[in-house]
Symmetry: C2
Subunit: 345 residues, 2 copies
């Protein structure tokens, strides 16, 4: 009697209204906490909802309301632990605002990204948070005029796209890393990994080269090898480069995930990390602290970044007419063991 149970048709607002002895419209008002409804009526409806086990049909509602309370979350590669934190930050903002996220993983493939975005659009999302696949051209995979919902780019800027953006100051982060390594006496500094045509990688590399030039050194092009962002890839890249006759005495890795792989390859080659070769990563993921040696990393506070990106998106959904804005967070160098601190200083 009381439970919803197994009737084939779902319980609808109409059923609730009938059961409470009011109209559909009134029942609807109660659900939306409208102040227009008198207290006794409100209670009757609430009871009916409970007794019938009614479940609100957001799909039907958003058809009318033109708002699905749904956003797309397009990520370049979930395997990177950075995104675990990032997504947590995003969710923490979305949830209280009544939004849920569709997750889409592009594996850093712009074509796949286009497909996924098209699918998300069909699901009537209200907005998108995009960590663009490396090599995304101006269209982020779909013709820009087709995307008539607000979106925010995170972490990876896409050249030529005038959308809102939240990211880190890559140049500043890279300079910090180089400065610190130079302070340790390192001179032969390499930049390992990162997607081939990723904007973040290019910015950081340029900053590294620039800083090295200032101290009359330079960045050997052979030491700037792109790679996908994973530990395994970091291991491969480093293995090839480290066995050369004159290996680098310091490595800046494009991400912590890559740095982990790099450190492993160094160890395998018999090169002690922190003394013969110093390593600095990017992202400051959770495991950086626990690794042996613990990883010095340029922290970009993934959760904060995700949170701010989500805030910005919600803002734009509320007021789409505001012009795109950019937010560049200042990174911070978290000094641990892999750079040599606590060993030689």
């Amino acid at each position: 009697m009381t439970g919803a149970s197994d009737r084939s048709r779902r319980v609808t607002l109409m059923d609730v209204a009938r059961h409470a002895g009011v109209s559909r419209a009134t029942a609807s008002l109660v659900l939306r906490e409208s102040p227009l409804v008198a207290e006794p009526t409100r209670l009757k409806v609430r009871d009916a909802v409970r007794e019938l086990g009614y479940v609100y049909n957001r799909g039907a509602a958003s058809l009318r309301m033109r708002r699905s309370h749904t956003v797309g979350l397009v990520i370049s590669g979930l395997a990177n632990p950075f995104f675990a934190d990032f997504i947590e930050g995003v969710e923490r903002e979305l949830r209280p605002a009544g939004y849920v996220a569709f997750l889409a993983n592009t594996f850093d493939d712009p074509e796949r990204q286009g497909m996924l975005i098209r699918t998300l659009l069909e699901h009537q999302i209200d907005g998108m948070l995009i960590v663009a696949a490396a090599g995304s051209s101006a269209e982020i995979g779909v013709p820009p005029e087709a995307v008539d919902i607000p979106y925010v780019l995170a972490t990876r800027p896409v050249p030529g796209v005038a959308a809102s953006y939240v990211g880190t100051d890559n140049r500043a982060g890279a300079r910090m890393a180089v400065d610190h390594l130079l302070g340790h006496g390192a001179r032969r500094i390499a930049y390992f990994g990162g997607p081939e045509d990723g904007a973040a990688r290019m910015e950081r590399q340029a900053a590294v080269a620039e800083r090295l030039a200032e101290s009359e050194s330079d960045l050997d092009p052979a030491w700037t090898v792109p790679s996908p962002v994973s530990t395994t890839d970091g291991q491969h890249v480093a293995r090839a480069l480290v066995s050369s006759s004159a290996p680098p005495d310091a490595v800046i890795a494009h991400s912590d995930a890559i740095a982990f792989g790099v450190m492993r390859s160094l160890r395998d080659a018999g090169i002690e990390v922190g003394t013969r070769c110093r390593v600095v990563g990017f992202d400051d993921v959770e495991q950086a602290r626990a690794w042996s040696p613990s990883l010095t990393s340029v922290s970009v506070k993934a959760a904060t970044l995700g949170g701010r990106a989500a805030q910005m998106l919600l803002e734009r959904i509320r007021a789409p007419e505001i012009p795109p804005e950019s937010l560049v967070l200042e990174p911070q160098l978290v000094v641990r063991e892999s750079c040599g601190c606590g060993r030689d200083s």
Copy 2:
């Protein structure tokens, strides 16, 4: 003229039909590749779709169809790298079937899990894939009669719930780990971490105790400390236990994430991993191979597991009447350095 552009109202199927000079119904048939439509008509409609930049409205469609092509993906803790692989496996199955996933992260909190599931249900998902929060009672957070859609439990069995389940043979995995450690001469074996009332943890712990009993040893209750599944937590748990007068000579960690933290604490306490204390993890995440020393781990092939779970869910969505089934995958011990192999054998 040709582009969709910025008209305030979205382009609808009605517009497409008008533009192509056919009826709404016909246009709909074309979109769904119905063989009923004559070739010339089909082409006219296709052109109209392209010219107007029409985007299919799945929300409207599913209202009528009673199928949203959407599933919920409820995860206990994204921070665990295990789930990166798991989700990749899930997505790889869902995508080609035309499904997208809503992501929800419960932080291992049954109450939050209930809230999230209710929200997902409101969004008219067709099914759910749940990695239950530890301590989920029989209701997985919502009254079971309210959940009238198929769902599949993954990794964590929930006692008392007769739903489909995909997981690993925890007992077998635990026995493998113990066997291997015993073979190395370890006698004082601990089981560290895992959520307090998690079924997986209990199963494994029981198996460890059982196996130890067989070899006339036993599992010291003080050495079976629960903890959340993260590297930081693993570090904390181990720090406390390892500084005792008679520390264990081997540790089985509930997950690789925890094992990483444990190894760090061992190192900090001056205990060499692989000789004075051997460590085995669970999950075989990507970083296990690269860690120093590399982590011996009971592999549960997260991506495979996710994929199978997704397959099972899709199957149940297609045919909800089939009785719940269980799939228990056999784990595999991936031997690396942390157990002492390559050092003393």
